[in-house]
């Protein structure tokens, strides 16, 4: 009997090892190939079987939510089209984008938002049939006003709360309807207006004259010059054979630095930039966060560009008026004015207020985080006063509001593609700013003529709402 016993045992061991080898092959060896196989329905089924968390505005109004339908959950969008590039979409066929992508793990309930060990354990043991809700800092009413003010023009606007850096409204126009992603994909992706492209977070534009705020901050930090320093403005200067002129070529004659900002004199600002030098200017631009990706979660946040020194006199002169080698996003310019408005303290931009478990579950609040002082409080106040005069008697008059003192700076950024981009960056009220904003209309022409009235409508709507 010894022989059969041994042979049968060997056969048994051989069969066992064969099975383990087979399991290893399919579950580990071929895993990558099979999990990503286009016919693999599991990803899709898994996505359909979970009630994905909703995305809400700061007052609790629904922006996007999952609704139970016959075929499983379906994503319904209640937000505005200009908000869609930021919120993004959730499609079974085309994947995810925007906040839907950045926060996917929370929305699907796969990741526990907190740090407590017991909470984590409970999360692990829950059936995970519903995801976490996300409460954004967006104020949908304000958002609607912003988009109405932009009125179908290509462009973007970012409105921020000064003290906290919370983004109250963020519009990228033209937008799209996330519910139509599956049915209208080809139309949306081939649209010449590129609606999927988030202009507010990743649109690269030369800042034009709005960059004079940064130049002014560098000049004040330098210490030799002041707002009262007087310059001679001939209307145009020629540097290295290249002419740099004021808008319309107007010579302002003897003019103070303050008035140079108010009338947006290009010649005076090239002159002061030459005086402080490119190192100082680039350093100040860098500390305002230009040329760096803002600390906002998400892969579609742009860093812009900042030239690296040393610059030739012509390059420096063009940088001083925001035209050479520098590109910024509307979010970055909003952060620049936020720092000026907040007495020099720059805050991290914040788009998510809290992540919340459904029902009576926990709530995890995203606290505002300061990034550090960019300019001194004293200089920030000086810049603010100068910007206030831009609105009361300068290029930004169209942003002026009765009852509320608005401060701002216009820009008409020349670009090779066509008419100048119309910029307006600003804040209100001047004494103790509550909100700040950056508005850009692509190829809109004059910042004072096109962008400033948009800013005015936004301020009006915000303070009317705040008062009422």
């Amino acid at each position: 009997m010894r022989r059969p016993a041994a042979l049968l045992t060997y056969i048994l061991i051989g069969a066992y090892l064969l099975l383990i080898g087979g399991a290893l092959y399919w579950q580990v060896g071929q895993r990558e190939v099979l999990v990503n196989h286009p016919a693999n329905p599991y990803q899709l089924l898994e996505r359909r079987s979970v009630r994905r968390g909703g995305i809400f505005d700061s007052s609790g109004e629904v922006i996007a939510e999952s609704v139970q339908r016959e075929k499983g959950f379906e994503r319904v969008f209640h937000g505005t089209s200009g908000l869609a590039p930021t919120i993004g979409y959730f499609s079974q066929r085309y994947g995810t984008a925007g906040l839907e992508k950045t926060l996917d793990e929370f929305l699907m309930g796969r990741r526990y938002p907190g740090t407590s060990v017991i909470g984590r354990l409970r999360h692990l043991l829950s059936d995970r049939s519903s995801g976490y809700d996300v409460i954004t800092s967006i104020d949908l009413d304000l958002q609607r006003t912003v988009e109405q003010a932009l009125a179908n023009r290509k462009g973007a606007a970012v409105v921020m709360e000064v003290k906290t850096g919370r983004i109250l409204a963020i519009a990228s126009m033209p937008g799209f309807n996330p519910e139509e992603i599956d049915s209208q994909w080809d139309k949306i992706t081939s649209d010449p207006g590129s609606p999927l492209y988030n202009r507010a977070l990743a649109g690269f534009y030369p800042p034009g004259s709005t960059f004079k705020i940064v130049v002014l901050a560098a000049v004040l930090a330098h210490g030799e010059l002041d707002l009262a320093s007087v310059f001679d403005d001939p209307g145009s200067v020629t540097i290295q054979g290249h002419q740099i002129a004021n808008a319309g070529g107007t010579p302002w004659g003897r003019i103070s630095l303050l008035d140079a900002l108010v009338v947006s004199s290009n010649t005076v600002f090239t002159e002061v930039a030459r005086k402080i030098g490119s190192d100082q200017l680039l350093q100040m631009a860098g500390s305002f966060g230009l040329g760096r990706k803002p600390p906002l979660a998400g892969e579609n946040v742009g860093a812009g560009k900042l030239p690296s020194g040393p610059l030739s006199p012509l390059e420096l002169a063009q940088l001083a008026i925001g035209q050479y080698g520098i590109v910024t996003t509307p979010l970055q310019m909003a952060m620049v004015v936020q720092a000026v408005a907040n007495d020099g303290l720059m805050m991290e931009p914040l788009l998510v207020d809290a992540v919340k478990a459904s029902g009576n579950g926990g709530k995890w609040i995203n606290q505002p985080r300061p990034m550090g002082y960019v300019v001194s409080a004293q200089n920030a106040r000086k810049i603010r006063q100068a910007m206030a005069e831009v609105v009361t008697r300068g290029t930004g008059r169209n942003a002026a509001l009765s009852g509320i003192d608005v401060a701002g700076k216009t820009g008409s950024a020349e670009n090779p593609q066509g008419r100048a981009h119309a910029w307006f960056v600003g804040m209100a009220p001047v004494d103790k700013p509550a909100i700040c904003l950056a508005v850009i209309v692509e190829h809109g022409g004059s910042g004072g003529g096109v962008a400033a009235p948009i800013a005015r409508r936004i301020f009006a709507a915000y303070f009317q709402g705040a008062a009422g």
């Binding site: 579950q27 190939v33 999990v35 599991y42």
Partner: protein, 431 residues
Amino acid sequence: MLSRKGVEKYLPARLWGRRHERRLLVLVAVIALLGVSLSGRSNFDAWHQGLRLGGSLGIGLFCLHFLFCFADFSGDENLLPLCGFLCALSLTTLAGMSTSLAFRQLCWMFLGFALIPIGALPRQWESLADYRYLVGITGLGLLFLTAFFGVEQYGARLWLELGPVRFQPGEVVRLGLGVFIAGILSENSQLFAHPTARLGPFSIPEPRHLMPLLSIWVLFLFVLVVQRDLGSAVLYYALFALLSYAATGQIVYLALPALMGGLGGALAALVFSHVATRFEIWLNPWASPRGAGYQIVQTMFALANGGWLGKGLGQGLARAIPASHTDLPLVVIGEELGFAGLTACLTAQFLLAAKGLAISFRCGHGFLRLLGLAVVVGWSLSVFLVAGGLLRLVPLTGLVTPFISYGGTAMVTNLFSLGLLLNISRQEIWS
């Protein structure tokens, strides 16, 4: 005399024994409680439903254990916990699909548990050899009945309906065939071991001894071919070959059927289109991933999604594949518990079979030894054919995975077989 430790000193003297079994059963009960509770948490009406289901299994196992203690049963202490672990896995996968399925399966388990002592405790089972023809013909009759009067489900005629009761006699028939073959082989073991007649270069036993065995076996295969139950046909065929070899120690009983089986399989693939289809699906399931290859393609996806450690209990989606509770419980385990869980399950089956082999070969009684082997080899072949089919080592068949698949007849028969194996493991009949 055993020393008394811990809690055990408060137990009656008879309960001091079988300590190894008791410890393993505690582990099994914990696994059952945790597994069922976690797996079914989205199906349960109340959180304690999982504890009730898993706990009942544990209580059932402990009842058996204490019964063995009081009966001074000297059988093996590893078999019951191993089988309990597999039952726990079975309940775990079922609880993730539907509570009512899990509950029904638990009822079947309890019926099986009730049969275990009947198989394990009496000393008279060796006389079963006297009824070998009766058992064999009954099995054959059952097979005939199903093949010609059975109810069709999922394209195969595997069910018998008797009034309100509906059952699948496949497993009963397997046990019956095992009893029959073991009976014949043990009766004539000397004749088979020292063959006198010749067939070409091989020595074979006299035809008059071989005839009853061969004729019934051929009838079995015929019925299975009519029934189109390819998996069972292969299983019975291999069972017969392995048992003959084990009974005689002559390699010819293994080599000849292997050769004939290969030829027969090739012939069947040429003659019967459904056999050919099976082979085509096996070799290239991607030809029709939504049609004939659906089950195997979905299986591969599910296993791959499981990865090393799995998606987590109750998080898998393989339960959505049709007939997953009967055909694909191993895939559900592979997806939800990953490679680790599947390996644990296969290892438990391996240990059960290895222990069973050791027990059978240790048994001094010829018939019981072969009966034990029939049980163990039957289980191992089922597991290999099912798991091998899912892992694409062999063509996929619709066989039952012992102790894991949903199914009343199979569960009861296999638990009763476990009782018989426990009986065979009694120290009194060691050789």
